[in-house]
């Protein structure tokens, strides 16, 4: 018996879902290809590693993103030095030292969730006022570091926590049975086992530090013509450089976007590889 063919909403939705998936894929491929194709031809050796020459005549500046690259690297290094120990320690506390239902843990989890949800512009506002104005650090890498450390903290806590949870309870019991204390077990057993998660969180944080713009503009600034001489001088990161370039130097901005995009894609692939290795390890 054949059913009567009639207009069906769910059939329409089916085709709509095909179309939606197509559009989503197209959007991603479109953005990536457009930025790469229009940007990469303008990437030259001088653009990457040369000197930024401000033109004195009416001619255009000789743009280089080298100063921004240096500042980004310093920013990454300092921020991770602050945020990794803090985040990993917090994750250890949440997983190893507490009962899952306790009020304190719930409060911290709510705090971590809230930190994730706060828009970066609000972090920027807070950082600029608190670190920049009240602690008198001004627009500088230090202000940016302290602000960004809070921004990436929830990512690090989450990823480390997930990874710690995969360390089998047996390992801990074995360690205790051999007479090791809690602290020794954490440092010798739990954390080495959680290393992939910590590395993933580092990669994700680096991506954020390269690509963050709103919080960076308010705390570090967007003056990127000179390699930064001190930690208290204003400078910018790669994303800030793109913003700086958009007003006058469209082609260079595209080139900087292309560089940014390539770095982010590479980091993303790295994180995925580590993630899948972790999964395989768990299955084994």
């Amino acid at each position: 018996m054949k059913r009567k063919r009639k207009f069906s909403v769910s059939l329409c939705l089916k085709y709509a879902s095909f179309a939606a998936a197509g559009i989503a894929a197209l959007a991603l491929v479109g953005i990536t290809l457009y930025i790469l194709i229009s940007g990469l031809p303008h990437v030259t050796w001088n653009f990457l590693f040369g000197k930024y020459v401000t033109s004195t005549t009416m001619a255009k500046d000789e743009v280089s993103i080298f100063p921004a690259i240096v500042s980004t690297l310093i920013l990454i290094l300092l921020t991770l030095v602050v945020a990794i120990p803090l985040g990993v320690a917090a994750a250890v506390f949440l997983t190893e030292y507490t009962k899952p239902g306790s009020k304190f843990v719930k409060a911290i989890r709510l705090a971590v969730d809230t930190l994730t949800g706060i828009p970066s512009i609000v972090y920027g506002l807070f950082g600029a006022l608190f670190f920049g104005y009240y602690l008198k650090l001004g627009s500088s890498i230090l202000t940016g570091t302290l602000t960004m450390a809070i921004v990436v903290l929830p990512t690090i806590i989450r990823a480390t926590e997930e990874s710690i949870k995969t360390v089998p309870g047996m390992y801990r019991e074995g360690s205790f049975a051999l007479g090791a204390g809690k602290q020794k077990t954490v440092f010798k057993i739990v954390l080495p086992g959680a290393l992939p998660g910590i590395i993933t969180s580092v990669i994700l944080s680096v991506g954020r530090l390269i690509g963050e713009s709103a919080a960076i503009l308010l705390t570090i600034g967007y003056s990127a013509k000179y390699v930064v001489g001190s930690l208290t001088a204003p400078t910018t990161n790669l994303a800030g450089m793109v913003y700086f370039l958009t007003t006058e130097f469209k082609n260079e901005a595209k080139a900087a976007s292309a560089v940014l995009l390539i770095l982010v894609i590479l980091l993303n692939i790295g994180a995925t590889l580590i993630g899948s290795r972790l999964q395989r390890k768990n299955k084994a």
Partner: protein
């Protein structure tokens, strides 16, 4: 003796480490409270000085006007809500449908590729989205609609839609994947076709997860700054009425003027703008938390009547 000493030393060590870990964990709590309290303390006096109603419902934002300037954020609030609504409408419908496709219609070998693509979309920095909007979407709209600028809510919502897509796809797909197999099988056994079973049984069953993904998307869209600033036109004098018209949002107002703030009052009012934004975002965050908590509660099998198997209701 030495043994006792060592034991004592060990227990001291253990305690110090525990306290150190505790402090690190408490830091996030401290950070949230500091940020919220600090911004409130900095911003609220400004709102009081400008007058609460004149601040919230005022339509003129002019720091150089009269003595001390005129500060009303109604235009920005409306702009933020307008852009967020359009962006979420676009990204949400696209995202949920894409999630349904990946979860239920996609051939197995493509599924991983698709998720990889979506994850990549999440990793692209907002400034790159803004750049793309500025050099591709805005000129396109300018030509298509014969508009003078091509800036405004429409390009901003397109960009925002793309940006929140991965969030919505990821979470909605998880919710769809978590629907018990028996729901689907029951529907098919009753003679429903694949697409009928998916859209009439599986999607409604995943409803709460999908809603929670959309709430998260709203929070993201509302706080987005740099992608929006490049395509929205940044004219604070307009009350948003059309889709293509240069306007300003709460977030962009802060970035545009913070660097060149004229005096303490101006800075204070920019912080006040941030406070309004923060309150919006906190409300959304908290509602998400409570919504999810509610979901967890409903998931626990307390309310299930005896003898009712998983999905029995749907199959009946």
């Amino acid at each position: 003796m030495t043994d006792i000493h060592r034991k004592k030393l060990n227990s001291v060590k253990e305690k110090t480490m525990k306290i150190a870990f505790l402090c690190a964990a408490a830091f996030s709590l401290l950070a949230v409270m500091t940020i919220v309290v600090f911004l409130l303390v900095q911003g609220v006096p400004g709102i009081a000085k400008a007058g609460f109603f004149r601040f919230i419902f005022g339509r003129t934002w002019s720091p150089s006007a009269g003595d001390g300037g005129e500060y009303g954020v109604l235009n920005f609030i409306v702009g933020t809500l307008y852009v967020t609504a359009c962006g979420v409408l676009l990204g949400g419908s696209l995202g949920v449908l894409t999630a349904v496709f990946i979860s239920r219609f996609c051939p197995k070998f493509l599924r991983g590729v698709f998720m990889q693509l979506v994850n990549l979309l999440a990793a692209i920095p907002s400034i790159v989205y803004g750049m793309f909007g500025l050099v591709v979407i805005v000129p396109f709209l300018r030509e298509t609609f014969n508009d003078l600028f091509g800036f405004g809510i429409l390009p901003a919502s397109i960009v925002l839609g793309m940006m929140i897509l991965p969030v919505i796809v990821g979470l909605s797909k998880n919710a769809l994947d978590a629907v018990p197999k028996s729901y689907y099988e029951g529907a098919v056994a009753l003679g429903a076709s694949h697409h009928e079973a998916v859209f009439k049984i599986v999607v409604p069953a995943a409803k709460s997860g999908i809603v929670s993904s959309i709430i998260l998307g709203i929070g993201r869209a509302m706080g987005e700054t740099m992608a929006v600033i490049m395509v929205i036109g940044n004219n604070g004098a307009n009350l948003p009425t059309k889709l293509l018209q240069p306007i300003r949002t709460l977030t962009t107002n802060i970035v545009l003027e913070f660097g060149e703030a004229k005096g303490a009052m101006h800075t204070q009012m920019l912080i006040a703008t941030g406070v309004v934004l923060l309150i919006f975002v906190l409300i959304i965050n908290l509602s998400l938390t409570f919504f999810n908590r509610d979901r967890e509660k409903r998931k626990t099998p307390k309310r299930r009547k005896p003898g009712q198997s998983d999905g029995g209701e749907a199959a009946r």
